[in-house]
Subunit: 278 residues, 2 copies
């Protein structure tokens, strides 16, 4: 692991790091915010998965999460959204290939050589972060848009991994949306039965979620129809999964929306990750 940069921020350190990923077979970049509370003891760890076109940097710079992580004494990990670099497959479209990994393990060429983002986030990077940083065994996961999809599906697929869960305007039903069908088809092939394990609305009915979940969605989201939040709401209600769903009047899909509600999400995770506030 190499350190790209470290900046003091809200009493802690915002770092950017690179490492050679075995599962993605390329160098990957990620960011970690460590609050000052970690100087004394391991702190809980919140995973923030980003959306289409993002790198590790967007949320790190725009979401304002460091202030809240510092307040509650939680580390935040910002993974990249895909493998990158020369020799890594890509597509001209903004919503396929580099910047659009969808948090799945690709089985189809040319993607399968590098696009193993499910295992990368849920196992490889998790192991690295746990080894290299003062984080406790308490992990939560959240994300925005494609990253909200990643947070929801990974939490349900790896039930021991994450003790708390939330999402900002997640892609909620990708098997029924142009934000999903194209990518799941490319990465997993044309057998749609293999896609269902990566659709939060379907996985919730299949595997369920033992905890509760907080979801914020902008009512004026310009991508509302692609996200299909109504499918997830229906699944939450039908499965009687404990949840808080907030359709926020006037808000769009941008980081102005995410940053506005970021503190609520960090507080949600803190309450569930055994943070004892002073």
């Amino acid at each position: 692991m190499k350190t790209v940069s470290e900046n003091r921020s809200f009493g802690g350190v915002q770092g950017v790091y690179t490492h050679m990923s075995e599962v993605c077979d390329c160098e990957m970049t990620f960011a970690v915010y460590m609050p000052r509370q970690a100087w004394n003891e391991p702190v809980p760890c919140l995973w923030y998965l980003s959306g289409l076109t993002c790198t590790h940097e967007n949320a790190m710079v725009k979401a304002g999460l460091q202030a809240h992580a510092s307040e509650f004494g939680i580390a935040i990990v910002f993974p990249d959204t895909s493998p990158r670099g020369q020799g890594v497959a890509d597509d001209e479209a903004y919503d396929l290939g580099q910047g659009a990994g969808f948090y799945v393990n690709a089985t189809e060429a040319p993607w399968k050589s590098n696009f193993q983002m499910e295992t990368y986030v849920a196992s490889e990077l998790r192991d690295l972060v746990t080894e290299k940083f003062e984080v406790s065994v308490h992990h939560g996961i959240t994300g925005h848009s494609m990253g909200g999809h990643g947070a929801l599906t990974l939490a349900m697929k790896y039930p021991g991994h994450y003790q708390s869960l939330s999402a900002f305007s997640p892609i909620a039903n990708p098997t029924g949306s142009d934000w999903g069908r194209k990518q799941l088809g490319a990465y997993l092939g044309s057998d749609e039965s293999l896609w269902t394990a990566h659709d939060a609305s379907l996985v919730l009915r299949d595997k369920g979620w033992s905890g509760d979940v907080l979801i914020d969605q902008g009512a004026d989201d310009q991508f509302y129809d692609l996200l299909r939040p109504e499918s997830l709401v229906a699944a939450l209600v039908e499965t009687r999964t404990a949840h808080e769903y907030r359709l926020q009047k006037g808000y769009d899909h941008s980081y102005y929306f995410v940053s506005t509600f970021a503190r609520d999400h960090v507080a949600w995770h803190a309450e569930r990750l055994n943070v004892n506030r002073p």
Copy 2:
């Protein structure tokens, strides 16, 4: 005035606008955050001047000021740092020309046709904002680096304009620094006696500041020697100007530093701009 974008943010609206500037003789872009309190009555207005290479966008996206503006019920204006566009003079260096207006009125060719940032910020844009937005007569000013220089010098040169003042790691003594001598020479000519009116450490001794001033400076600022904070501290002490100067251990010159202390600055201005908090 044209609206480029408006996004709901922390209950208010973050807008970006363009207008034809008479004094800069080109189209200028600026951003305004209006908190929801302005739906009911005019709110105080804080001017945030940005540093070298910045546009209106950097602080708007990275400083996290909207959260605090929303909390305290204050509007924030983010001007650009220079005129821009085809036909506007520029220089290859990052620290001269477009993105580096230094908040002065240029008198030398080729700059004088457009680079009138002092009058632009202190008068033309001020008049436009006052006319178009629900802001009260209570204005404060702050800024970062070159913008901290702008905030300090404009506040002292226009004593009726700003009732509160602060700065983040300001260029504090430009007549004695490579961040200043080059630009003041280019914009104002070689007569150094004309530069002194744009050097906070000198203007403070000449004109003084009737209020108090909050200044945050990173102790690990990579540009510390160019900023010359010690000159300003000496002037503050010698003139017995009421002030709070904080040399912040471990912090550098980045927006990780600015965002960490942004709330303190908004609170500082709110207290001095007649904000009655609920």
